[in-house]
């Protein structure tokens, strides 16, 4: 990616592209601080999908008529677009799935069931979203492999010093780790993990759901073997995600879902599989969603990922500063240098559900709960946290309104 200085992101201008902000919530302008759960959608992406449905829609592949060719071009162009975004060596390594969760399940089933067994070790981190934790725990149990968890330090960073102790006489086969933590914003040292994993002959499965919307990703530089992301968190539509995998691994794998489109030929007794990526794309593809995802990537790249990262870094610094003014608020997570645009916090004596409810009355949307990270919550000694997260359209006033709202929370429940 270009390292030339991108112009600073003008969040007010970006915001004007998002129709959702044209309304009021409980009579207040919307302050949306829950982009880590899902992002809002720019008009450019929505229009691309509508245009596709209105002018180019038919089922893809095999059709020999003009519309089918246009639809196929839309889908395959999106694949190329994703391959460029991730600096993938080839577009056929890009598999469209429903979301990151499905992508990781694809690897856990199609690779895990054939490659794991007793004596093998599967490592996930204590920081993982359930999406990159539960599939591995489950497949390890099914295959008799050992499931082991890389612990965290008190600020929510991976304890790389504990890696070697996890081997414990077994063969490490999988290391599953998120690039950015959805609950704390921790940016994990995936390159270091990948080096360690490869020294032990393991594959690395990177959950990029929380990284892809916010930073430049390069699968070759990261050194991972599989990487999964969700379109809906990066200005794209819901219902589409991506699994990238190294071609030689994907080629050696059994299919995950079987049925139409993923075959080479079907006989009464036996079926042979299609080429990559089709082997892993049974059934009608999410065509319009792929077109939407490509438009979302265009949109984000026009802003520039360096500018996005800088913008979110500034907002995070501002939010941490403002929250530190409140002695009855505790923030969780790593220092600013190793943190993406996510701030998890606790309001002394008030359950996150009540915090989020009172903030909602103010038009401020944050997430309250365990963020699909129950092992992490247990490590932090809480059942739930409040989480504010930032994106391209986030402005400082929204953080000010969060802080104002927290004063009201405090007043109501003390």
């Amino acid at each position: 990616m270009a390292v030339t200085a991108q112009p600073a992101l003008d969040a007010y201008r970006v915001r004007a592209d998002f129709p959702i902000f044209e309304q009021t919530i409980h009579g207040k302008p919307l302050a949306f601080l829950d982009s880590a759960a899902s992002s809002q959608k720019p008009r450019q992406m929505l229009e691309a999908m509508v245009r596709f449905y209105e002018t180019s829609y038919a089922n893809v592949h095999r059709g020999v008529y003009e519309l089918a060719e246009r639809a196929t071009a839309g889908l395959e162009n999106a694949r190329e677009r994703v391959a460029t975004l991730l600096n993938a060596p080839a577009a056929r390594e890009v598999v469209f799935v429903r979301n990151a969760t499905e992508g990781i399940n694809l690897v856990a089933y199609a690779w895990g069931l054939s490659n794991l067994g007793p004596g093998d070790v599967v490592v996930a981190t204590e920081l993982e979203h359930h999406s990159n934790f539960v599939p591995w725990q489950y497949v390890a149990r099914r295959t008799g492999a050992d499931f082991r968890v890389l612990p965290l330090d008190d600020s929510g960073e991976l304890r790389l010093d504990a890696l070697d102790a996890l081997v414990g006489g077994g063969r490490v086969k999988v290391v599953a780790a998120g690039i950015v933590s959805n609950a704390l914003g921790t940016v994990n040292p995936i390159e270091t993990l990948a080096r360690w994993a490869h020294e032990h002959g393991a594959i690395v499965v990177a959950d990029a759901a929380q990284a892809a919307p916010h930073r430049t990703l390069d699968v070759q530089a990261l050194g991972c073997d599989f990487l999964a992301l969700s379109g809906h968190k990066m200005c794209g539509p819901s219902g589409i995600g991506v699994l990238w995998g190294r071609a030689e691994l994907l080629e050696a794998m059994e299919p995950f879902l079987t049925g139409g489109h993923m075959i080479r030929s079907v006989g009464l007794e036996r079926t042979t599989w299609g080429e990559l990526p089709h082997k892993f794309e049974a059934g009608t593809a999410p065509m319009a969603e792929a077109v939407g995802l490509a438009a979302a990537i265009d949109y984000l790249e026009a802003i520039g990922f360096d500018a996005i990262e800088r913008h979110e870094h500034e907002l995070t610094a501002y939010a941490l500063g403002r929250l530190s003014e409140l002695p009855w608020v505790t923030t969780f997570g790593p220092p600013l240098e190793r943190r993406a645009g996510i701030v998890s916090f606790d309001v002394d004596g008030v359950h996150p559900h009540d915090v989020a409810q009172v903030l909602d009355f103010e038009g401020v949307a944050i997430r309250a709960g365990h963020h699909c990270c129950q092992p992490l919550m247990r490590r932090l000694g809480v059942t739930a946290t409040n989480r504010a997260s930032f994106y391209v359209y986030t402005v400082r006033e929204e953080i000010d309104r969060l802080v104002e709202g927290l004063y009201r929370v405090r007043k109501a429940f003390s």
């Binding site: 009579g27 559900h353 009540d354 109501a412």
Partner: protein, 146 residues
């Protein structure tokens, strides 16, 4: 925030039960006990019950961590069920507790409000074999094994 919206949900009685929960603390010994979680938000409630002649509920004690709605609802419930039989409570419709709460609840907050009632029904089921709500379906079987 318009005061109206806040006061509707967190009316004085709810905040009072939240800040000064009735029947707080687990009974030991107890004739029935169970604990439960709301998996969506991690609310936790443990309920203990002492039963008298004819399985009439004499005392209830509960502890929990959770939002104002879940804790206040359990506190109100603990007063409400005293003097009733285990069989009556097993069949108690959730609407009775919701009426007592008297606040408008979204589907998400509804789960908070009825967590304590679910845990109480589970405790009675484990101790006395009273029926579990049909809508729990086969999931109820897992709950009882804990």
């Amino acid at each position: 925030m318009t005061t109206g919206e806040f006061d509707q949900l967190y009316r004085e009685l709810i905040l009072d039960h939240y800040k000064n929960p009735r029947n707080h603390g687990l009974l030991d010994p107890a004739d029935a006990r169970a604990e439960g979680q709301n998996p969506l938000c991690g609310d936790e409630i443990a309920v203990t019950v002492r039963l008298g002649a004819g399985d009439v509920i004499e005392e209830v004690g509960f502890e929990g961590r959770g939002c104002a709605i879940s804790q206040a609802a359990t506190s109100m419930l603990s007063d409400l069920v005293k003097g009733r039989t285990a069989g009556e409570v097993a069949l108690m419709p959730k609407e009775e507790l919701l009426n007592e709460l008297g606040i408008p609840l979204t589907p998400v907050r509804l789960k908070c409000a009825i967590l304590g009632l679910g845990v109480l029904k589970l405790a009675l089921h484990k101790a006395k074999g009273t029926p579990l709500p049909e809508e729990w379906g086969t999931a109820a079987k897992d709950l009882v094994l804990d």
